[in-house]
Amino acid sequence: MTSPIAPDLPATGRVPARPRAGVWRRLVKRPLALIGLGIVAVVVAGAILAPWLTGYDPNEQMFDGLTLEGAPLPPNASFWLGTDLLGRDLLTRILFGARTSLIIGIVANGVALLIGTLVGVTAGYFRGWIGGALMRFTDLMMAFPALLLAICLAAVLQPSLWIVAMVIALVNWVQTARVIYTETSSLAEREFIDAERTIGASASRILFRHILPHLLPTIIVWGTLGISTTVLLEATLSYLGIGVQPPTASWGNIIFENQTYFQAAPWLVFFPGAAILALALAFNLIGDALRDILDPTQRGRA
């Protein structure tokens, strides 16, 4: 071949025609990852199909859902997971609550992770004033009481799911940014980054193609742990009035509303808690498997 600029020095070689096994194909070969994917699928399906899965309305306060003294019912034949303090079916509420909690745990948490990673990577790689300014801004955000911001927003804005998602994204990126920053600044010192510079790689290429993949384990850890914390944080924010408002259910607010009753009516805390745990664990299983798959030195591990 004779491209004028191309180095036509080496005889063009025979290119091996071997397809790369896709990440997805390797993922589904792992039993643990499969379990994780299964749980996520069940939760998503439950959220989407919620109206058809149980015979109840999530917000209907049923007369037979409470004892005469006003106590909720434990799990029984007609209410599989029991009822809540207003006599509503807990299973139905958990299914509908999945919609809110998935948006928070995945979208809001994801956006926070994204912002945190971008800020951390940029600040860690560009030393000069950009990095300094970004990190000082991060420090400011970290030192600033997020709850206060939430309360003020609550008072100013119309409460809605998307606002609480935005607030969570807004306050949760900070920690990620700092951790990613620390790691990026040590990665930036590695020799292979020098090597990339000498071939003229642009900063964005170095950041996204060479530094980011090395941050994956950290991102996975923060991302999966973030699911639980954001889902619970949503409840706090909703309590302060900036999130979903009653009677809309979310896993976090089911727990939050009922946590003082955990002795009198443990099912009200246990089931939504288990749902959060399962979701976070599922993502962790997937994340762990991904981490192994994307880490070439771990190939060969079953």
Partner: protein, 615 residues
């Protein structure tokens, strides 16, 4: 090393100088396989070898032939989870106290706890990658002392003394204060010497040295080899020496094993192998060995000269280059000392020219290279293709950078471990927008073939290659852009001689075809003689002698140059030297207090551009 240091050892091991019958180590039928993306692959097949007490066995052979894997298998340190021993036994002769009645221990089946007692104490190993083998957060003193403490009952102070001795033995300057330093504060060669000191400190029965001197300059290499011999003489240590350098093989080996494709192709005494090689591969290998003094003179063809005439001026001009590193110390961490890594050097490289930069470890060769590649801040002028690097904008600098490519000293550290090597080699093309996707992969496949790798390996990751193979990947990457200047920092030192010869030929060929200039950094004087047009000898950050190859090699004028040339081992067992010359003066250090300037050497022209420092 002080004599009799071994007697102080409180362990039960009393050095028996007489060679008792029977091998110390016996490997039979060893097969090692690694699991890759597509199934298992044997990298060592049915290998058998024996090692007698006090013997030096050299393993040489093609890069990637499984030499390191064999060594790691003996240590039970194969990379996890990919590699495993498929079959075979590795038998180490037992000492009295070992709880076995058969007189030997099979390492292949040993549990980790008992293996631990053997590692370091009975079998020590020096690893191939010096940059990454030391723990970055522990001082080298700590790392030395702990291994001594782990296997002897010595007190901390005693162990420390022993550690200092070991450092002195590998000729680390200011050994005592070095104990407090951390690995990243040492040059590549120094780190390698620390590794050697660590292995030697315990005087093991068997020492496995995987390319122990690759990163060292010839003078230090000589000392290290001498040290190995001392150890052998005094303690009857058996040594497995893995090396590409046939000169080292000739100097050291009692017996030689030649490997290729995971199999042993030939075994014999050193004299036999060199004199009467049986296998074709061995013959090929020996033929490829560069020999000093026999380097074919490179007559410049008329054609080349005309190209030069067409392109007047130099590819790169370096004028009064200084690179300093500030060291912080004291309680408040203020700058109190400064490493004068490069102290005012000037040279120029013309198109079609190869300038070799030689000098001992730590003299500033890599630093010079990095300054040229724009990776460290410097003072002075660097002019590339007529443009001074200082005062260039970003885009211009990117354009200039395309013309200068660098092959790093440590191939592993300079490859992104998470990228496939095919993508890594294609990356420069991609960045500079050369060729379409399919064309690119064809080009890369072609590059792979040119450096002696198969196109199939494009799909693998850096860690799946042997040291030499990685080096070739780096070379392929640097060639991809067809730059005007390639800086090659110890680029062929990790290659076996046959591949080395092929790569050197390739480099020369490219130079002929495209007029690429090289800044070739090496301490292998034979290779330097083979490839270079001009040679610059560096010492403590300054150039002490510079001239054409012939001027420097046939008429070395500076004492340091002379010593370098003398120290080169000759690849002929018959010409083996009884002892390497020891340096008697302290090894100088480029580190000085703030404000203290190193003396500036003036260069005198002896005629025809042969410059020599006069002090």
């Amino acid at each position: 090393m002080s004599k009799g240091a071994g007697n102080k050892r409180t362990g039960v091991f009393a050095p028996a100088v007489s060679v008792t019958a029977g091998p110390v180590l016996e490997v039979s039928g060893l097969t090692v396989s690694v699991r890759g993306e597509d199934g298992e692959r044997e990298v060592v097949s049915n290998l058998s070898l024996t090692l007698a007490r006090g013997e030096t066995l050299c393993i040489a052979g093609e890069s990637g032939s499984g030499k390191s894997m064999t060594a790691l298998a003996i240590m039970q340190l194969l990379p996890q989870p990919a590699a495993r021993i498929e079959s075979g036994t590795i038998r180490l002769r037992a000492r009295d106290q070992d709880d076995t009645d058969r007189g030997h221990i099979d390492l292949a089946g040993l549990d980790e706890r008992r293996m631990r007692r053997i590692r370091g104490d009975r079998i020590a190993m020096i690893f191939q990658e010096p940059m990454t083998s030391l723990n970055p957060v522990l001082s080298i003193g700590r790392q030395l002392v702990e291994s001594i403490e782990a296997h002897t009952g010595l007190s901390r102070a005693e162990a420390r003394r022993r550690a200092i001795e070991a450092l002195k033995a590998v000729r680390i300057p200011e050994a005592e204060s070095r104990l407090k330093q951390f690995p990243h504060e040492l040059s590549g060669g120094m780190r390698q010497r620390v590794m050697i000191a660590m292995a030697l400190a315990l005087k093991p029965d068997v020492l496995i040295a995987d390319e122990p001197t690759t990163a060292l300059d010839v003078t230090v290499q000589g000392e290290v080899l001498e040290l190995l011999r001392d150890l052998q003489r005094e303690h009857g240590t058996s040594v497995i020496l893995i090396t590409h350098d046939m000169g080292v093989v000739a100097e050291m080996a009692d017996r030689v094993v030649i490997m290729r494709h995971g199999r042993m192709v030939e075994e014999g005494t050193a004299a036999d192998i060199f004199a009467r090689p049986q296998a074709d591969y061995t013959r090929e290998l020996l033929a490829a060995v560069p020999r000093i003094g026999t380097g074919v003179g490179r007559q410049k063809s008329a054609e080349q000269k005309s190209v030069e005439a067409e392109m007047p001026g130099s590819v790169a001009v370096v004028n009064d280059l200084h690179v300093h590193f500030d060291l912080r110390g004291g309680f408040f961490g203020q700058v109190n000392r400064r490493v004068h890594a490069v102290e005012g050097i000037s040279f120029s490289i013309a198109p079609h020219e190869t300038l070799a930069l030689v000098g001992e470890s730590g003299c500033g060769k890599s630093t010079t290279a990095k300054a040229l590649a724009g990776l460290v801040p410097y003072h002075g002028d660097i002019v590339i293709g007529g443009r001074n690097l200082a005062g260039l904008g970003r885009d211009q600098r990117k354009a200039v950078r395309r013309d200068v490519q660098m092959i790093f000293q440590d191939p592993y550290a300079s490859l992104d471990p998470r990228m496939r090597v095919g993508d890594l080699v294609a990356e420069p093309l991609l960045i500079h927008g050369i060729a379409s996707k399919e064309e690119r992969s064809q080009l890369v496949a072609g590059l792979f073939e040119r450096v002696g790798l198969s196109a199939d390996q494009m799909e693998l990751y850096p860690h799946e290659f042997s040291g030499g193979q990685r080096q070739r990947i780096c070379i392929a990457r640097a060639l991809a852009l067809r730059p005007k200047l390639i800086i090659a920092d110890e680029s062929v030192s990790a290659l076996d001689v046959s591949v080395q010869a092929r790569v050197l030929d390739l480099l020369k060929e490219l130079q002929r075809e495209f007029g690429i200039a090289y800044l070739f950094i090496s301490h292998d004087m034979a290779v330097v003689e083979n490839i270079s047009d001009r040679v610059a000898v560096m010492y403590l950050g300054q150039i002490v002698e510079m001239g054409t190859r012939d001027q420097v090699f046939s008429n070395p004028r500076h004492p340091y140059t002379k010593r370098l040339i003398e120290a080169v081992p000759v690849p002929d067992p018959a010409k083996r030297r009884p002892r390497f010359a020891r340096l008697d003066q302290e090894i100088p250090s480029p580190t000085r207090k703030i404000g203290e300037q190193p003396p500036k050497l003036a260069l005198k022209d002896l005629g025809n551009g042969h410059l020599v420092a006069v002090s």
